[in-house]
Structures are given as structure tokens and as C-alpha cells.
């Protein structure tokens, strides 16, 4: 039993007199009620149309027969309402766009869904473009995102766990898996880990991504992000776990292994033989992006005898009168390119064109003419740059960059031997890496017969390959 005035005073104190919370008092047939809502989160139309109008429509007879509460419940035209009995729950509903109806001398508060439409509609994907695939992408509204997934997976077997994360943000987070396909222990581990998260705020999925990736000291990413609901569904069917976070326009997919970053949306829609050729090119691009500048520096400063004579003459002429050692030259170009790339990502599109002029003319043409760098180095860096771009995952590109620099250093200090040393280091790093107990080089090491059919070469298939967990217990990874 509460009195409206007392309760309102209490709420006012607890919300620090927030001006956004509107208290509207109303009298229905001599009984006092109050309507409370958080203005920015609610739709004023919904409140006036469905709540106030419904309340006005309650006749005297209705109240005479029943209690006021039942009359309101009966008359209100909102599809969703909750009865709040605990004082603390008031705020969680208030901050999620519900409208509360307080009735004098009642023990129950009614919460009615009147969420305002403050998200953008479902738009087309921007970072994972596909010619033939569906054109819908996640937006910032978790309810919409869940809808996009459930629209595709019409099953009772979708396992969902709802969590609210962050002391101040209280962000809704849903962990999804498909029963019988996903691995229970991994699912439980992810949920437990998220529950244990102590943070003052999760504004966006990025915090979670870093938190879940934290054990991994390697630059290579062990979670995958995607903004496409169709990709999410495919990964779910492969037995992976997907995390949706409110206010985040992408989903986190885990576990993610190296091979996953080579598989793109478009692959599904092409014939497998055409996909295979593109995969081969991508794997080639991966190695070129890693090794090209390192090997070039190693060859040109240590192992000149490996280069064919004609090519060596051409290199020697181009290198002539370049005042810096090949390494310095390489790093100048690398740094210049990375800065341009970073700037290009951040700049609004209409300023971007001036950047490409600066990049192409000043760094390419003028640097060669001025004799600061050799044309061949520009070619090498350009090949590297092109080769690091066919990957959608930004984290992978960044990891490639770190190892590229290591390879350059190795090549500078020890020649081909140095390249070999860094290569060994890279191999150790990749093989020792786990993504939620899945070995990072999974279809290759350890060999997974099903998965390897969708790696460097893609075989035609009807079903989605299930991510194999067989070998992991044997390996006894931590």
C-alpha cells in the first residue's frame, strides 16, 4: 500500500530531481492516479493515444464493479504491461522507456511499454558488402537485431541468456547458441565470464570484445565481429556462440579461428571452384602482406645472390643515389602508408579525396623524383598495402601490420635467417593460440577433416560444417 504523493517524492529524491521524468497526476472518478515516464525514451504519441485516452474511457460503472486497478488493466490498449511490486524495479522500467501508472492505496504499480522509436531503421551493411547476399544489417537496437536473427532461425532450440552489464549503463546483452550444435561448456564459460565482468559502463560492444579477448596476448583476434544477420546465423549453425549487445550494430562471434577471417559472405553465393580461387588468392595475399617488405629488405641487404641477375641490375640502378639504407626507406614508406590509411578511415568522405591526392602524388611520384625512396620500394609497399586489404576484420589487418614490422626488423638484422626466426616465432604464436579452447589454426593444426573442406580450397557442400571440438580435450589446452 502506498500513497502517490509519498512515492513521487521518494522517486524524485532517488532520481536526483531529474527534469526528464514527467509526473502527471490525474483523477479518474474521484480516484487519484499518477502517470510517470522518462520523456526522452518514450513516445509521447503512445502515451497520449493508448494510455491517457484509454484512461479517459473508463466508465463509472467499471470502477463500481471492480477495483480501479482491474479496470485500468482491462481498458488499457497497450499490448505489454508489467506489474511492479518492488520499489527498486521502478527505475529499471523507467529507464527502459516504460510508463508507470501509480494508483492511490494500491500495492502494485503498472508498467506499460511506451518505448519511443529512437533507433534508425534496418539499413544496408557498410563494412561487409555482398553483391548477392541479403542487404539487411544490424542496427543499434538489440530487439531489432534479435528479430533479424530469429526471422532466419525458426526453431525452439535457440538458447538465449539475457544479461545486464555495467553499473551505470545496464546494457542488455544476449548470449545465443543453438542447442545440440553449440558446446555447452564454452557457452557456460562465456556467460560466467560476462557475469563476472565488473565495469562501470558498457557503452558499446568494444569493451566486451577486449574483455573476452584479454587472455590472448597475441595481436591476432580470437573473436569475430559481423554486422550481417545472415553471417551470424551461419556461424550459429556451425556451432558457434553469438553475443548481441544493445547499442551495438555488430554481433560478437566466438570462437573465431584464423581460417574464419578468410571466409567472407560472398563465398556462399559463388560456385565452390570460383570461391576456391579467391581463397587461394587471399591466402597468398596474407603471406605477401606479412612477408613482402621483410623479404625484399633481406634479399637486398644480405642475400643478393638469390635475385636473378637482370632483376638485381634493375634494383641496383633504382637504389642508386637513395641516401638511406633499405630499411629506413622501407619504414618511411610503411609509416607514410599507415598514416594515410588511418587518416582515410577517420576522415569524412568529402575530405578524403584530397588525402588520396597527397598520398598518390606527394608520396609516390615526388618521393621517387626527389630520390628519397626507390620506385621498387614503392612497389613493394604498394603490394603489401593491397594485400592487407581483402580482409574484413580490422583486427587481423592490425595483427598483420605488427608481424610485418617484425619481419622487416628480422630481415634487416639477420637477412633470410632473421626472416626464418620471426617465422618460427609467428608459428609458435599461432599454434599456441586458443579461441575459447578451440586451437587457432583449427582446420589445419590439428587437422579437422570437415573444416579443412572449407579452408584454402572450398568443397561443395549442402550443410554447414560443424566447428569440430573433437581434438580439444585430447590436447588438454588451458
Amino acid at each position: 500500500m502506498y500513497k502517490i504523493n509519498e512515492l513521487i517524492e521518494k522517486i524524485k529524491i532517488d532520481t536526483n530531481n531529474n527534469k526528464d521524468i514527467i509526473y502527471r497526476e490525474k483523477v479518474i472518478h474521484k480516484k487519484n492516479i499518477a502517470i510517470i515516464f522518462n520523456e526522452p525514451l518514450t513516445s509521447s504519441n503512445k502515451i497520449s493515444d493508448f494510455i491517457i485516452r484509454s484512461l479517459n474511457g473508463i466508465s463509472y460503472l467499471d470502477i463500481k464493479k471492480n477495483k480501479l486497478l482491474d479496470a485500468i488493466k482491462n481498458n488499457i490498449s497497450n499490448f505489454k504491461y508489467k506489474e511492479i511490486t518492488k520499489y527498486e524495479d521502478i527505475f529499471s522500467y523507467l529507464h527502459r522507456g516504460f510508463t508507470l501508472i501509480l494508483i492511490d492505496n494500491e500495492s502494485v504499480i503498472l508498467a506499460l511499454e511506451t518505448k519511443g522509436n529512437i533507433s534508425r531503421g534496418v539499413s544496408t551493411p557498410t563494412s561487409e558488402v555482398s553483391l548477392r547476399g541479403p542487404k539487411d544489417a544490424f542496427n543499434e537496437e538489440i530487439q531489432v537485431n534479435l528479430g533479424l536473427i530469429k526471422k532466419r532461425l525458426k526453431t525452439n532450440d535457440l538458447i538465449e541468456t539475457e544479461l545486464y552489464l555495467g553499473d551505470y549503463t545496464n546494457v542488455k546483452t544476449v548470449v545465443i547458441g543453438i542447442k545440440n550444435l553449440y558446446k555447452k561448456t564454452t557457452y557456460k564459460k562465456v556467460v560466467d565470464k560476462l557475469k563476472a565482468l565488473k565495469t562501470n559502463g558498457v557503452v558499446d560492444g568494444e569493451v566486451l570484445k577486449n574483455y573476452l579477448d584479454k587472455e590472448n596476448k597475441s595481436p591476432f583476434p580470437t573473436t569475430m565481429t559481423t554486422e550481417r544477420p545472415d553471417t551470424v546465423c551461419r556461424r550459429l549453425l556451425e556451432g558457434r556462440i553469438v553475443i548481441l549487445i544493445d547499442n551495438t550494430c555488430y554481433a560478437l562471434v566466438l570462437p573465431a579461428v584464423l581460417n574464419d577471417f578468410f571466409r567472407t559472405v560472398e563465398d556462399i553465393y559463388s560456385k565452390s571452384i570460383n570461391t576456391s580461387i579467391i581463397r587461394l588468392l587471399k591466402y597468398l595475399a596474407f603471406w605477401l602482406a606479412l612477408l613482402a617488405p621483410g623479404i625484399y629488405i633481406a634479399l637486398i641487404t644480405y642475400n643478393q645472390e638469390i635475385i636473378p641477375t637482370d632483376l638485381l641490375i634493375s634494383f641496383a640502378i633504382q637504389r642508386d643515389s637513395v641516401p638511406f639504407p633499405a630499411v629506413v626507406e622501407g619504414f618511411i614508406m610503411m609509416i607514410a602508408f599507415e598514416i594515410i590509411r588511418e587518416a582515410d578511415l577517420r576522415l569524412p568522405p568529402n575530405v578524403g579525396s584530397s588525402l588520396s591526392i597527397v598520398g598518390a602524388l606527394i608520396l609516390g611520384e615526388a618521393a621517387v623524383n626527389a630520390g628519397v625512396v626507390s620506385p621498387i620500394m614503392i612497389i613493394v609497399i604498394a603490394i603489401t598495402a593491397i594485400c592487407s586489404l581483402p580482409f574484413a576484420e580490422l583486427e587481423l589487418i592490425n595483427a598483420l601490420r605488427i608481424y610485418r614490422i617484425l619481419f622487416m626488423l628480422g630481415g634487416t638484422l639477420l637477412g633470410m635467417v632473421g626472416i626464418l626466426l620471426v617465422f618460427i616465432f609467428l608459428t609458435i604464436n599461432l599454434t599456441s593460440l586458443n579461441s575459447f579452447k578451440t586451437p587457432y589454426l583449427m582446420p589445419f593444426v590439428p587437422v579437422d577433416k570437415e573444416g579443412i573442406k572449407d579452408s584454402v580450397i572450398k568443397f561443395p557442400h549442402k550443410n554447414h560444417y560443424k566447428l569440430s571440438f573433437n581434438n580439444m580435450e585430447k590436447r588438454n589446452v588451458k
Binding site: 641487404t301 643478393q304 645472390e305 641496383a316 640502378i317 637504389r319 638484422l413 639477420l414 626466426l421
Partner: protein, 387 residues
């Protein structure tokens, strides 16, 4: 983990950049010439000019190669003296050609090779050739058309002629040394000659007209015995020698098909096999496939009889070619065919008894029985003679 990272870092920084050499500091050698000059050796080095021209960033300014020369008692002394006039380090791992002057070749060439064989810093797959008449020094200075680098030009010429003509096979340094040291086979090397006017070859004028004044031409094999030059085979005998050594890829046989007109057959496939009967008697089996490239006689090729006739003539011609080559080789009295080795391999026990008398008693008196399986496989697109 931290310790491991620190250790790995130490691997990199504990090295002193061993063997680090920037490309700008290297003088890339494409050819080496060695001559005799008085008591000394004259070493000529052909260095690729890698100075960038001002207009085009990918081509060099001035002549495409530069020649340095130095004298010394040994090859090593002379090559080190080269540093006196070259600002860059002489870098011989891209060496393609070693040219030996005639004078030096007559005195013996093995001592010159010691450095190249012993040293790890040059690759051993370069070609070795003998320069007839002119010294190697002069040949390496000649500017050549078609291929900018003189040494590469010579190497390419030898290789293409081995492929299409069979006058000389390209003999690489490592094969030559291996043949000489491990098998009882004498050295034979392709040779070259300079034709045309004197002293123009090294000037730019040589490239300014469509017909160069001075040209380098490949000639027949230079024959050695005990690593000393004996003399040269002419072109026909050289082709015959290549046949005998089973190194023919393609070549042309031109002979008379009637009283005055000629026919050219292209050998498309050849396999030569020498069988040892005893120390004096050898059987040479050839399996040769040819095609008619050109025919000037009025012969009807539709009739099989005529083809057989041509077949017979071709066989006779090839037989004479080989017999002539064998005679010339026997006249020089040097076993470049490796018959001694062949005999040793087949009859190791008998070999001991003839070992010391091979040249005195046996080599000059060897008899050869030549069996040729000669076939004309293709007649070309037209059967009737155009005439």
C-alpha cells in the same frame, strides 16, 4: 613469458649485422677476363653500371658496363688491387662468364681456377670460354648491340647456338672442373673471336650503326690437353663433337641432294651412345630424328622411294660429319670424349694394364664403328617442291 620475450630480443641485438651489405655499395661483376701480361696475370673485370640516369629512374647513365683491370702474380692479388680503382666492393656472385686469353690458355689454365674453386664467394655456374687471337681484356671492352652487357651477350649467344646449332655447348665452371678432376676427360671449351675493325669496339660508335663495326663471334671448340690449349676445331668438327658428346638439342644438316642443289634437314631429336668393345674398338650408336626444313632439288616427296633415298644421303652425311670430327680430335691427340674414362668404367681390371700407355699406344689407334638410326619424320607442309 617476459623472460622469453627478452631472450628473443637479445637474439636480434646480439648480432653484428653479419654480412650486411647495402646494394648501393656493390659493384656487380658480370664477366671476368684473365690474360697473361709478361710474368703477371692481367685480370679484367666487367662491372655493371648501376648509376642512375637523371631522366629515367630505371635505366643507367652512360655505358651499361664499366671495365676495371689490375695486374698481379695471382688472381687474388689482382682482384684485390681492383679495389684501388673501384669505389665499390667487387661482388662476383652474379658472375656469368670467365674469358681466358689465348696466351694464358697455352700456358695452362688450372692455376687460375684455384681461387674460384676454393673461394665460397662466387657462384660456380658461370661459363668458361677461350678468346681466340685477341686478349680477354680487349674482348670484354667491346660494346655489343641487342644485349647491353657484353658478358651476358656472349653467354646468351653460346646458349642459343647450343640450342639451335650445336656448334658449342655451354660449359660451366663447376662441370668443367668436375669433369677434369674426377674423370679422365680432357677440357674442351667454347671459344670466340673478334671480327671487324680494330679499336672501335670499345667506343660508342660501335652501337651507332645498324651493322656494328666490331663483333664478337662464337667459333668452334678450343681443345686442351693437360689444361694447356692445343688448338681449335672448325665449325663442322665442333658440331660433330657435340653429336659425339650427346649434347645436340637441335641443329641443321645441309648436304647435296643431287648434283648441284642442297637440302637442309633439322635434327629435332638425337641420342648418342658410345659402347666400349675393348680398348681399341668402340661402337657409336646414334638415333637421330629429323625434319625437312628446306629442299631445293626436284624430288617428289610423295614417293616413299625418294624419302628413303634422302634418308640414306642424310645418314651418309652425318656419318662423314662424325668421322671428320673423330679424325680431328685424334689428330690433336686429346681425349675430350672421355674414352679413357668410359673404358675404365667398363673394364676396371683391364684398365690398370693400359693406364700408363693410353695416349702412346691406344688413343691414336682407336677404331670406331658408327651405327646411325636416321629418320626423316616430317616433310613440312608441302610435298611438291616449289621449283
Amino acid at each position: 613469458m617476459k623472460k622469453i620475450i627478452i631472450l628473443v630480443l637479445f637474439i636480434f641485438f646480439s648480432t653484428g649485422c653479419f654480412n650486411y651489405r647495402e646494394l648501393n655499395d656493390l659493384a656487380i661483376v658480370s664477366g671476368v677476363g684473365i690474360d697473361k701480361k709478361g710474368d703477371n696475370l692481367l685480370v679484367t673485370v666487367q662491372v655493371i653500371n648501376t648509376v642512375k640516369s637523371s631522366s629515367d629512374s630505371a635505366s643507367s647513365a652512360g655505358p651499361k658496363f664499366i671495365v676495371f683491370e689490375a695486374e698481379g702474380k695471382t688472381v687474388q692479388e689482382a682482384t684485390r688491387k681492383l679495389i684501388l680503382n673501384s669505389s665499390k666492393r667487387i661482388y662476383a656472385e652474379h658472375l656469368e662468364l670467365m674469358l681466358i686469353g689465348e696466351d694464358l690458355a697455352k700456358d695452362g689454365i688450372l692455376e687460375v681456377f684455384d681461387l674460384f674453386f676454393r673461394n665460397s664467394e662466387s657462384r660456380k655456374q658461370f661459363l668458361v670460354m677461350v678468346s681466340q687471337e685477341k686478349s680477354a681484356n680487349e674482348v670484354l671492352k667491346i660494346l655489343t648491340p641487342l644485349e647491353n652487357l657484353n658478358a651476358k651477350n656472349i653467354v646468351d649467344t653460346v646458349k642459343s647456338n647450343a640450342k639451335y646449332l650445336g656448334v658449342s655447348e655451354p660449359i660451366t665452371f663447376d662441370n668443367m672442373i668436375a669433369d677434369y678432376l674426377t674423370q679422365k676427360k680432357e677440357i674442351y671449351l667454347p671459344s670466340l673471336k673478334v671480327i671487324g675493325s680494330e679499336n672501335i669496339g670499345e667506343k660508342k660508335e660501335n652501337l651507332e650503326e645498324s651493322k656494328s663495326d666490331t663483333e664478337v663471334v662464337i667459333t668452334g671448340y678450343a681443345l686442351f690437353k693437360d689444361n694447356k690449349l692445343l688448338g681449335y676445331l672448325d665449325l663442322h668438327d665442333s658440331v660433330g663433337t657435340t653429336f659425339l658428346n650427346n649434347k645436340i638439342d637441335k641443329t641443321i644438316l645441309t648436304f647435296k641432294c643431287d648434283e648441284k642443289d642442297y637440302i637442309s634437314l633439322e635434327v629435332t631429336e638425337n641420342k648418342t651412345n658410345i659402347i666400349v668393345k675393348d680398348a681399341l674398338n668402340y661402337e657409336i650408336n646414334l638415333k637421330t630424328k629429323t625434319k625437312i626444313n628446306e629442299i631445293n632439288c626436284a624430288i617428289d616427296l610423295e614417293k616413299e622411294k625418294n624419302i628413303k633415298e634422302l634418308n640414306k644421303k642424310g645418314k651418309e652425311y652425318l656419318e662423314s660429319l662424325i668421322t671428320n670430327a673423330l679424325t680431328s680430335i685424334k689428330n690433336y691427340d686429346t681425349d675430350i670424349l672421355g674414352l679413357e674414362n668410359l673404358f675404365y668404367k667398363n673394364f676396371p681390371h683391364k684398365y690398370k694394364s693400359i693406364k700408363n700407355e693410353w695416349y702412346q699406344k691406344y688413343f691414336k689407334n682407336t677404331n670406331f664403328k658408327i651405327n646411325i638410326d636416321f629418320k626423316i619424320k616430317e616433310q613440312g607442309n608441302i610435298l611438291k617442291v616449289t621449283k
